[in-house]
Amino acid sequence: MTLAKVKTVTLVGLEGHSIEVEVDISDGLPGYTLLGLPDAALSESRDRVRSALVNSGEIWPNKKVTVSLSPAWLPKSGSSFDLPIAIGILMAQNVLPDFEGEFFIGELGLDGAIRTVRGVLPAVLAARKFGAKRVFVPADNFSESQSVAGIEVVAVAHLGEVTRFLRMGKFPPCAEVQKLDLHLRNLDLCDVVGQVDARRAIEIAAIGGHHLLFIGPPGTGKTMLAERIPSILPPLTLDQSLEVAAIHSIAGSLKAGVAITDVPPFVSPHHTTTPTAMVGGGSHQVRPGACSLAHQGILFIDEAPECGKGVLDSLRQPLESGSVTITRAIGSVTYPSQFMLVLAANPCPCGKFSGKGRSCICSSLSIRRYLQKISGPLLDRIDIRVHVEPPSRNEMASPDLGESSESVRARVIKARERSRVRNQAHGWLLNSQIPPSQLRKKFRAEKEGMNFLHIELDNERLSARGFHKVLRVAWSIADANEHEAPTLKDVQDAYSLRTGMEDFE
C-alpha cells in the first residue's frame, strides 16, 4: 500500500470537524507536498514529522510524499496534525498493520515526543460523535479528556509508544472515566467579615442569576465577595462542566494533571482589557474571550467605570443572546457565553465618597460623571446594586467566622429548584430571564406588593424599567423564603437591593 488514510479532528470554534489525512508515497524526486489549506504552523509539520520519525527509529521515505487533509475547503491550523501525518506516512510504507476507528491528535517534537496541544477536550468529544473507538491524545492533555465516557482515550508521550501499541494490536487498559474534581472550592464565604447586606445580595443574585453591581470604597471586600460567588452557586452538571472545560481547553487555560471541575468558573479581566479580549477573536483560530471563559460562571470586572470605551458595551450582545458570534476571514464561530455579570466600582474617582463622605475630595459633577461611564443599556441588565460599606468596629472585633459557603449553597440550590420548576414551563430557567410582559401578567407579586410598587411609580421614585427589575429580584427573594408569590416584604427587600439606582435612570 502506498496510500494511507488516518483520521483526526480539527476545531472551528467549539465545533469539531472530522479530518481525513491521506498520505500517498510515489516514485519521483524526494519531496513533500501538504494540501488542504494549511497555515504556517501546519506547513512546518514536514520538518517536525521527518525528524520525529527518524529519531524514533522509523524510516523517512526518500520519495515523493503527498499529504492531503480533507475536506480540502476547510482552513486548518495548528500543530495537532503532526501525529496523524506521521502515522499516515508509516502506514503508507506498509510498516504498520491496518487499523480502524482510531483517531490521532498531537504535536510532535523533533525527538518524537508528543507535545500538548490546545482544544483536546472538544476534539475528543467530536471524535466520539464521529464514531471513533479510540483516540490517542498527548499525555499532558489526558487529565482534561478523562471525564469523557463512551470512547477510549489513550495518553501517549512518545511516537514510539503509538507505533508499539499499533504493532502489538494491544492497547493499555482504558482508565476509568474520572468523576469531576469536587475539591476545588478553596475560597469560602466565611472569610468575609460582616457585610450582611452584601451577603444577602449575592445569595439572591445566585438564586435568580441576577447581574450585580457593587459600589463601595476601596478595601471593603468587593473583590473578596465576588470571588466567593462561585462557591455558593449550584455545582455544574457533567454536560455543563464538559462544555466549560472545552472552552477553556481551546483557550489553553486548563492545567495539565488537573481533572475538570464542577465549580462554576470565575473570570476577572483587568479593566484595561480590549473589546476583542472580552468577546473573543483572532485571525487563524478564533479564540474565546473572557465572556465565553466565564460561561456558566461569573464574569467579574473590577473598577468597571475605568474600563475602556466599548469594552463594557461589547458585553451587551452576549448578555442578550447568551452566545457570541465572531466572524473572521476563516469563517464564523459561535461560543456560548451565559454568565453572571458582577461589576465593582468605587463611588467616586477618589474612592472615599461613602458613609458621610467627609474625606472625599471629588466635585459633585465628577462623582456623577464617574458612575455614568457605565452605560444605560448595560445598567438596564443589572438587577441588583449593593453598597458595600466598611465593616463596623463590632464586626471587626468579633472572632466568629461568617456563615460558610456550604450552608448558603444549600439554600441557593433549594431555591433554584423552586424557580426552575415554576419557570421551566414558560421557556426560561432563571428569575432574571422573566420577560417584562410576563411580570405584569402571570408573574405579579401579591396585591400589597404590587400596590407598593405602583405608589413608588406614582411618586416618581421608580421608573418602568426599575419596576420590572424589582419584581424579578422579588421573585428570587420569594424563592429564598419559600413563598408562592412575592409578598409585600419580599418586594420591599427587592426594592432595597437597588438603593440609589435612580442615580442612573
Binding site: D27, L29, P30, G31, N62
Partner: protein
Amino acid sequence: MVTKQEIGALGEERVAKYLLDNGCRVIDRNWRIREGEIDLVGLTPEGAFLFVEVKTRSSNHFGHPLEAITPIKALRMQRLALAWLTLNNHWGSDYRIDCAAVFIGRNQEGEIDYRKGVL
C-alpha cells in the same frame, strides 16, 4: 585519492550499463551547452528519448542524493531536454526525464536507485 569527477564518471558508467541492461540504447553522454549539461541520453525500445540526471554519492551523510535536485534544477533539465531534441532534429518525439542515484561504497558496488518520469 579519487576525485569527485571520477566518482561522477563512475556513477554515469553504472547508469549507462543499467540502461543497456534494460534494453535501452545510450545515444549521448555529457551533452553540454551554455545552460548546463545532460548526463545521459537514452532511447527506449519503444522509441522514447530518456534524459537522465545521475547523482553519485560515496556516503549517505549528506541526505539522499536525489534531494539535491531542487524544483529549479528539475525545470532546467526540462529545458535542456527540449534543447537537445531541437538541436538533434527530434523535436516532437516522446521523451522522459529520469533521475538516478548511484551509491558507491567501499566495495565500489554501485547500487542504483532509478526514478522514472520525475517531471
